[in-house]
Symmetry: C2
């Protein structure tokens, strides 16, 4: 795991484009609690009963209440916005494939790794993975625009 | 805007696959407040100062604090999980392109429209758009697996 002292503090500027290289990696882990799921439902308005009702969830493929996919996915944003590339980068795009449910109480580990750098456009592509007990539950790809240390003329 | 009485209440089962047709549309609007942005930062751990610090944001391209892209994007999940297709569907994938910033105080309107139905796999594809004052700030595509009213043998 590669860390940037400045961005890890959450306040300074993150990596500049010139400081990035393919293979750099960062992660963030979070245990998803019932309180988190209720807060996300409140915030987003997504009150789908598969997240909120034990009875409804019991009748689904999942058998138990699951976390919102976007709550899990938001951990990608957390890594991107606070660690790699960190503050100052601009989010251009994200893809997500939901592979398996996340249950309340699961610890999700989001791992992001730089897979491509476009020097002309100062863009970084990152492979994004969220796993529970080592099994991928969500993966995808992010593209970020990253500040140059020395702006081009 | 097409609505399903059951799913609009947030508790019953949403549309079944057989009830869907290309062109059906649903939407959800939310004004993004400062409180929402703080709550999302707390929930996700994404404390990127572009969302939280007026001083930091003043030095960025955006000039002012912006909402988390995933907070805006979560409105797609809200429509999918509560309106179209509504409860019972399973989220397979989502793409997102962040086109423009969302500022605190902006009202975001998420509009989703069915663009494709795969009868063999019981999957629906939806075009997803979030707009502020009629201008797209985020768009992408969602793919959902939808319960059949009559399960296939």
């Amino acid at each position: 795991m590669t860390m940037n002292g400045n961005s890890a503090g959450g306040l300074g500027h993150g990596y500049y484009f010139e400081d990035l290289s393919v293979g750099m990696e960062a992660r963030y882990a979070k245990k998803i609690t019932d309180k988190d799921v209720l807060a996300f439902a409140d915030l987003s308005g997504d009150v789908n009963p598969v997240h909120l009702s034990d009875d409804f969830a019991a009748g689904t493929l999942f058998k138990k209440r699951i976390a919102h996919g976007f709550l899990t996915g938001s951990l990608f944003s957390t890594v991107l916005g606070t660690k790699l590339p960190g503050p100052g980068c601009i989010y251009l795009s994200q893809t997500m494939k939901f592979r398996a449910p996340v249950y309340i109480g699961d610890e999700v580990v989001a791992t992001l790794r730089i897979t491509g750098l476009d020097t002309d456009k100062a863009r970084a592509t990152l492979a994004c993975d969220c796993a529970v007990n080592g099994k991928t539950v969500l993966d995808g790809e992010a593209v970020m625009m990253v500040d140059r240390r020395t702006p081009r003329q």
